[in-house]
């Protein structure tokens, strides 16, 4: 085995680290560790001179391992890997110790923070000893794209890609495109027609030469990996179509919450208690009447049904406040004399033009009454025969502190928006993760909001969280742009820190297969071993920890590397 020659670099990060950590003492202590050839401190390791320092030392001292103790590896790991590459070393012969976020920023005692920095760096040194060279790999991209879901997001992405001349397979489970938007009458905040917005797009998608639409269709499983996926589209009458594609956009949208879960709303039992989407149907047909065909005189809109309550969904469904405000305006123009009640908990009418909609609505003789959505929703009961109205709502009004009764002929429940029941099946088919609310998880909430941890799979629109139309369209077009960039480049680099099975150890127990979130492992019955498809594998390490035999190694995260790092950490703690 080659002699281990490690260079250690302790960054000041200006005063960010140096103020709380004695960086010179850390570098000095590291020089005592066997295998450490040089240990230096420098003001900004990430700067060009800082990187040049590493490159010079690698050449001058024949270093074959480098440790930088600085900020989070999320910020500069790639910077330093690149520096190693420039000096002719494999970029994976590098380890970063985070002594800023994990140390200087969170401590107030300089002596203790310095001791902790020594431990963190000693751990990194002990780990880097066991690092191995890993080689980059790339795969070619099939220029076709599969889009699952034909709502506003799916259609927008499809048109974007197809207009650039690339093939799109658009799979919709309903009998027509358009999704939720096709069921709406007017749109907030400008009360323009949803149909005029969506129908031309539907027509264009249906007739586009580069878009193949599959209606009443579903995808049950997607095989392959970024650039080279394949799947079967299942339609009625056992019709199956095999397709090949390089990228996937998931745009499956959401569905309304079922309010019959909340007893005291008496939804389904009282015929004039309806949901927001049922109101849309009435508005779209121009037939806004009660079940007996008469015009309602008292109309109540109850916000936050199923939202912002931990018994149902803790999150805010984001579009319902503006939708309710839109309804008040539509109802007011249909019935100039009707009494309209917005029974809300907080009005969240954010977004361009939306606060203005709220101000406008407040001038339309609409009564705003506040209830506590974390407590009980208003109780809806049938009114006594002596009353002139149909129903009575009871609740504690928050602003006055009074128990109030509100008469109503028609009650509209502003129901929450939630993930589809089959969200999990689609997640498994394409290999994306779900949050606790069954919405799909993006790769990074701020910096990578439409990609997922599976290469070539994107999530857009309301399947990722409830969204309005502008946000859905923005995401759809962002994903389309990402995919176009990959298609244009022609190939893509894939993860190298993957799992690998040692066939001499694997006993064929198959524990690893079902735990893989990327369906990257299959069983080779002939050899009686598991096999990892290294292009599908994202190196998450789940199989490595599940494997009871130690046959699966997670490259760059081997047991040996991790345990050595812990030993290094502990060795410094003991000297304290």
């Amino acid at each position: 085995m080659e002699e281990i020659r490690i260079g250690v670099y302790v960054c000041w990060c200006g005063t960010n680290i140096a103020k709380m950590v004695d960086v010179e003492a850390v570098a000095k202590a590291m020089r005592e560790i066997p295998g450490v050839i040089v240990a230096k401190d420098y003001k900004y390791m990430c700067s060009d001179p800082g990187q040049e320092l590493i490159i010079q030392d690698i050449k001058e001292h024949n270093l074959n391992r480098v440790v930088v103790s600085a900020c989070s590896p999320r910020i500069h790991e790639l910077t330093f890997r690149k520096a190693l590459e420039n000096a002719g070393l494999n970029p994976y012969m590098f380890e970063m110790a985070n002594i800023r976020e994990h140390d200087s920023w969170v401590h107030t005692d300089r002596a203790e923070a310095t001791q902790k920095a020594k431990a963190l760096v000693a751990g990194a040194i002990n780990r880097v000893r066991w690092h191995e060279s890993l080689d980059k790999r790339s795969v070619e991209i099939n220029p076709a794209t599969l889009i699952i879901g034909g709502g506003i997001a799916g259609i927008s992405a499809a048109l974007e890609i197809a207009d650039a001349g690339k093939q799109v397979y658009l799979v919709e489970k309903q009998s027509q495109l358009g999704g939720t938007v096709a069921k709406l009458d007017l749109l907030f905040p400008h009360l323009d027609s949803a149909q005029q917005l969506i129908q031309p797009k539907i027509n264009r998608a249906m007739n586009h030469l580069s878009i193949q639409c599959f209606l009443n269709a579903e995808i049950r499983e997607v095989f392959g990996y970024i650039g080279n996926f394949e799947a079967k589209v299942y339609q009625k009458d056992d019709l199956e179509t095999e397709i090949q594609f390089g990228n996937v956009i998931v745009a499956t949208g959401l569905k309304p919450f079922d309010p019959s879960k909340i007893d005291q709303l008496n939804y389904k039992r009282l015929p004039n208690v309806i949901t927001s989407l049922e109101l849309e149907e009435k508005l779209l047909s121009g037939n806004l009447v009660m079940d007996n065909g008469k015009d309602p005189k008292h109309i109540a809109l109850i916000h936050c049904i199923g939202s912002r309550n931990k018994n149902h969904h803790e999150y805010c469904s984001r579009t319902c406040c503006n939708t309710a405000l839109k309804y008040s305006n539509q109802i007011r123009s249909a019935f100039p004399d009707a009494a309209i009640y917005e029974i809300y908990s907080d009005i969240r009418s954010f977004g361009k033009g939306c606060e203005e909609l709220y101000t406008h609505t407040a001038r339309q003789d609409v009564m705003f009454l506040m209830y506590d959505q974390k407590g009980e929703v208003p109780k809806i009961t049938e009114a006594r025969h002596s009353e002139k109205v149909n129903m009575m709502l009871e609740f504690r009004e928050q602003l006055s502190g009074e128990h109030v009764e509100v008469p109503a002929d028609l009650v509209v429940l502003m129901v929450a928006m939630e993930a589809h029941e089959n969200a999990k099946e689609i997640a498994h088919a394409v290999g994306v993760s779900m949050c606790g609310n069954s919405f799909y998880i993006e790769k990074h909430p701020k910096l990578d909001p439409v990609a997922t941890t599976t290469g070539g799979v994107y999530v857009v629109g309301s399947c990722q969280s409830p969204k309005d139309i502008p946000d859905s369209v923005s995401q759809a077009r962002a994903a389309a742009a990402r995919i176009m960039a990959d298609i244009n480049f022609g190939s893509v680099e894939v993860e190298v820190t993957t799992a690998v099975v040692n066939e001499d150890i694997c006993c064929g127990c198959q524990t690893c297969i079902s735990v893989c979130p990327y369906t990257a492992i299959h069983f080779d019955a002939e050899k009686n071993v598991s096999v990892v498809n290294e292009i599908l594998c994202k190196g998450c390490g789940t199989c490595g920890s599940a494997c009871p035999t130690g046959a699966i190694r997670s490259r760059h995260f081997t047991d040996k590397q991790i345990l050595s790092q812990i030993e290094g950490l502990m060795s410094m703690q003991l000297q304290h």
Binding site: D504, I505, C506, C507, G508, C509, Q510, T511, I513, S514, V515, F523, N528, T542, S545, A546, C547, P548, T549, G550, A551, D559, K560, L563
Partner: protein, 328 residues
């Protein structure tokens, strides 16, 4: 002795904290004992031969060719003999689970010396000890001072006390494997590198196990073997019974599983696994078929004696090593 007559090997067998099963497994060579005796002189074996410690002490260093040391190190006598035999032996073999990783006696590391003594000398139902007498390491009688070994707080595997050349795992090791290893030494076959596990396979039990295995390892309820209607064909784990097979080296001939009992893990972990209990718990955790935190807790609580199940033979030799003892 003529020049072409090979000198006989000098063989010793010793027991530390052991049950005697390992020594019996050596006796189990039956008629092959003749092959052994033809090739080796037994120079020390307390269970079978009346050779005293002082006789061993009198031997020159490196006098014994091979010592099969079984049993864990639990008291000062075990430790003394481990050092002595190391000095007198060329090839020291940790023989059986207790010498290999601590074995069943090693489960005492989940408690302390004081807790054990309290139970055994004060509290147990069959104890009458009104004067609360506890073992002493020395005691004066009219004839002089008597010494007995000191009982340690920790149980250790052999290699935690002395340098070990090879490991031959099992509770007890399969006798055929012992004969294989012994004959390899006798015939002068090339020996594996120092520190190797011998008399066992690289692959774990499942490789040899003939039960049907699929990737459908989903556990809704953990069951004891008597709680299932075992069909004799399906993987125990797929029936909800914890089987240590995946995390245990093969080599025993899947004896327990062939007898329709799940593997208990006596052959120790495959190479590179430092903590078989942790490995198996980690694997089991992935099999629990629930996404609901409360339900998962409920399912996990069904594992009877998790410490004893996952670390039955391996506690002192694993990373976990023992329960933390609070020192004031």
């Amino acid at each position: 002795m003529s020049d072409n007559e090979k000198p006989k090997l000098k063989l010793a067998v010793y027991w530390g904290a052991a049950c005697g099963g390992c020594c019996v497994s050596v006796l189990d060579v039956h008629e092959k004992l003749f092959n052994v005796v033809a090739a080796a002189d037994l120079v020390f074996w307390p269970i079978a031969l009346d050779i005293k410690y002082k006789d061993v002490e009198a031997m020159p260093d490196g006098h014994i060719d091979v010592t099969l040391f079984n049993g864990a190190i639990r008291n000062s006598e075990n430790e003394h003999m481990a050092h002595l035999l190391r000095k007198k032996t060329k090839v020291l073999v940790a023989y059986g689970s207790c010498a290999h990783m601590g074995g069943i006696p090693g489960l005492a590391n989940f408690t302390t010396k004081e807790e054990l003594f309290r139970r055994v000398y004060d509290e147990s139902e069959s104890t009458v000890n009104p004067d609360k007498i506890r073992p002493q390491t020395s005691f004066t009688v009219p004839e002089g001072v008597l010494h007995i070994p000191e009982f340690y707080n920790d149980v250790r595997a052999l290699d935690q006390v002395v340098d070990v050349d090879y490991y031959l795992p099992g509770c007890p090791p399969q006798t055929e494997r012992l004969v294989d290893v012994f004959m390899a030494i006798v015939t002068g076959a090339e020996l594996p590198p120092k520190g190797s596990v011998v008399g066992a396979y690289d692959k774990s039990q499942c490789d040899e196990c003939e039960r049907k295995k699929t990737d459908n390892k989903k556990i809704k309820a953990f069951k004891r073997p008597w709680e299932i209607q075992d069909d004799g064909e399906t993987c125990f784990l797929e029936q909800g019974v914890i089987c240590m097979g995946p995390a245990t080296r093969g080599g025993c001939g899947v004896r327990c599983i062939k007898g329709n009992a799940p593997c208990r893990g006596c052959y120790g972990p495959p190479a590179d696994v430092t903590d078989p209990g942790a490995k198996m718990m980690s694997a089991i955790a992935t099999m629990i078929d629930s996404d609901d935190e409360d339900e998962i807790v409920e399912i996990v609580n069904q594992v009877a004696d998790p410490a004893g199940t996952f670390y039955r033979f391996s506690l002192p030799g694993s990373i976990l090593r023992r329960k933390i003892v609070q020192t004031v």
